[in-house]
């Protein structure tokens, strides 16, 4: 009798432990880009070799694969036609990082079939190295290549000036560098809730001839992002945006809606009890704040740029980076054709 009870207990423990194992999950996610052109690579097969799970990267080159195990000792295999297969041990995987694939020599060079007279220019171009965050624990001297900046809720609008070589251009694409608010990979950073879907407004504005501030609205579009890709490509070819003057603004408007809410955890002391001598005994309790996605990336400025934000009185004011020691700009570029 005693023995069977012991056996029951033992089996119970085994079951309990196996259920813990089963419920834990590890997620691998990131964005795949072409090492040469730095363009996102869609339709890449990503395979967890041992577990035999396969997913495909989306239009932004973004992937998300989850392993049923909490501690994964496996290999991630990235394969796609036209690219060298890339293997990554899960032990060296870094959370939401860029994976760059090398195009094979047999692959055709990228050819864009367009009208020969059409010129395509990417204004305020930024590269992958500009928006790639340092791995945890690594500090590049003398400056970090990227300093990221989450916008505080007071900044609903951010606008950046673009100068095209001439007027009457078509805006075909906008590129945007995002950052993750989730900073659990860094020690001593506050914790936030995970967030995949984001919605914001993209505006094109004219330039006020007197103040050179953003002026009239030329175009607006709601953008829905459905992944955590850090390099966001917005294809605007179908929107047929023709800009008459050479100078224009592109603005991001944050939507302060529950959909974009991210909860950030701090802690704060609360009086637990008061001793007979009147001394307060404190304990730390949660203190939550709400942030709004998306968070943009700032990088070291190459040329002087002009940016504005709308202040709490709904007036445009010049935007300067919060990091005052050197000039930085928000990773936002515009591709035009003319």
């Amino acid at each position: 009798m005693k023995r069977s009870k012991f056996l029951q207990l033992f089996l119970g423990i085994i079951l309990f432990l196996s259920s813990i194992r089963a419920s834990a999950q590890t997620v691998f996610e990131g964005q795949i880009i072409n090492r040469t052109s730095e363009a996102p690579v869609p339709n890449v097969n990503i395979r967890l070799a041992r577990e035999r799970i396969t997913v495909t990267s989306n239009a932004q080159g973004y992937f998300r694969i989850s392993s049923a195990d909490s501690v994964v000792n496996d290999t991630l295999i990235f394969s796609s036609v036209g690219y060298q297969t890339f293997k990554l041990l899960t032990s060296v995987y870094q959370k939401n990082s860029f994976i760059s694939l090398v195009p094979t020599t047999t692959a055709l060079e990228e050819v864009s079939i367009t009208n020969e007279k059409l010129k395509i220019v990417r204004l305020n171009k930024f590269n992958l190295s500009d928006i790639k965050e340092d791995p945890p624990g690594v500090k590049t001297d003398p400056f970090l290549p990227v300093v990221t900046y989450p916008f505080s809720p007071r900044n609903r609008f951010f606008a950046k000036l673009f100068t095209a070589p001439q007027g009457n251009v078509v805006l075909t694409r906008v590129d945007l560098g995002r950052r993750e608010l989730d900073e659990t990979k860094y020690p001593d950073k506050p914790l936030v809730t995970s967030h995949i879907k984001t919605r914001f407004l993209l505006h094109v504005l004219s330039v006020d001839p007197k103040t050179s501030a953003p002026d009239k609205l030329l175009f607006s579009k709601i953008i829905n992002l459905t992944d955590k890709a850090l390099w966001v490509e917005l294809d605007l070819r179908k929107d047929n945006i023709i800009i008459n003057l050479a100078e224009f603004y592109i603005a991001i408007e944050w939507m302060h809606i529950p959909f974009n809410e991210v909860i950030k955890l701090f802690y704060s002391p609360k009086v637990r009890k008061v001793t007979k001598k009147g001394n307060q005994v404190l304990e730390d309790v949660s203190e939550y704040t709400t942030l709004y996605e998306p968070a943009l990336i700032e990088y070291k400025k190459k040329k002087p740029t002009v940016s504005w934000i709308k202040n709490h009185e709904n007036k445009w004011q010049r935007y300067d980076s919060e990091i005052s020691d050197q000039s930085r700009e928000i990773a936002l570029s515009a591709t035009i054709s003319y």
Binding site: T193, L265, Y267, H312
Partner: protein
């Protein structure tokens, strides 16, 4: 313990309103004269709502006869007590009248169970119970509506998902101790007029506790809760007491400053699955049920699952 509580109250009172009178009340059962634990007390115009501790003691500093506000006392299985606050002058106890609840009919025996409002819990990203833009969360209960698979079915269990910050593999920042919470679960039938939560379907107080866990599964098999209507509701009732108290930082309208406000745990998850209709109802400080529209139209349901025998 009681002396400590009185002492605390005294310290508290002398510190803040040295000149004010402290009015102490015992909230008791009208029949047994025993204290009722965790009674919900709301003062409408002052936009205040708290729960008493287990001893049912409640205090208001100041001159009651001069106060122009309405006070509501409510506890499960008791009739809601609502009247002008000045009528409390000269009293030292509040007696709540117990409501008789009919015994449920015999349970139908069936082995088929249906899981309602299913979703992938790893997709939950939003939480109710923290703040609503620049205002604090001013709701006593939030309820999830369910379509009953069969009238007369038995509610087996409910799973409620709440906000907990997961620690990373290095165990960085041990918040688990701070996230402990206790709340109550209410089961309601359908109010055919409002289409919102109606009468209580369970007379027993269901207390849920969580020690840093995200999913709280409550087994209800022993309570024999029978669903009499085509729809029913599972609600989270916040226990707004010292134990659950934390803070929330709100952005003021000027966009520059923030205010630290009191917040009560838990924050309840919002289901990542969007349905055709809004299925969340909220009970405000006046104890009126209203459709809870804060997460509309992007989200329609709370992260609460229910299992009913068919």
């Amino acid at each position: 313990m009681k002396t400590l509580f009185t002492f605390l109250l005294l310290v508290f009172a002398t510190k803040i309103h040295a000149q004010d009178k402290l009015n102490l009340f015992h909230i008791v059962d009208s029949h047994t004269k025993l204290p009722i634990p965790s009674v919900s007390v709301s003062i409408i115009r002052a936009r205040l709502a708290i729960n008493t501790e287990k001893d049912g003691i409640f205090s208001i500093p100041g001159d009651l006869s001069a106060m122009r506000d309405t006070i509501i006392f409510a506890a499960q299985n008791y009739r809601v007590f609502k009247f002008p606050i000045r009528e409390l002058e000269g009293q030292d106890s509040i007696q709540l009248v117990r409501v008789a609840l009919l015994a449920p009919p015999k349970q139908s025996i069936s082995k088929l169970d249906t899981l309602l409002n299913d979703f992938d819990s790893s997709d939950i990203e939003h939480y109710a119970g923290i703040n609503e833009r620049a205002t604090s969360f001013e709701w006593l209960q939030l309820a999830q509506r369910f379509d009953s698979p069969k009238i007369g079915g038995v509610l087996k269990n409910v799973s409620i998902y709440r906000l907990v910050f997961n620690l990373n593999s290095e165990g960085q920042m041990d918040y688990a101790g701070m996230e402990y919470t206790k709340f109550r679960v209410r089961i309601y039938g359908l109010d055919s007029l409002t289409r919102g939560p109606g009468r209580d379907l369970c007379s027993k107080v269901i207390e849920a506790k969580s020690n840093g866990r995200r999913r709280i599964k409550i087994n209800l098999t022993d309570l024999n809760i029978i669903i009499p209507d085509p729809e029913f509701f599972v609600a989270v009732e916040w226990v707004r007491d010292f134990h659950n108290m934390g803070y929330v930082r709100l952005n003021n309208a000027d966009g520059l400053t923030t205010d630290r406000m009191i917040n009560y745990r838990p924050a309840i998850g919002i289901s990542p699955v969007k349905r055709n209709n809004l299925n969340i109802w909220g009970m405000n400080f006046k104890r009126a049920w209203l459709p809870y529209t804060y997460f509309s139209p992007d989200f329609t349901d709370l992260a609460i699952k229910a299992e009913v025998s068919k």
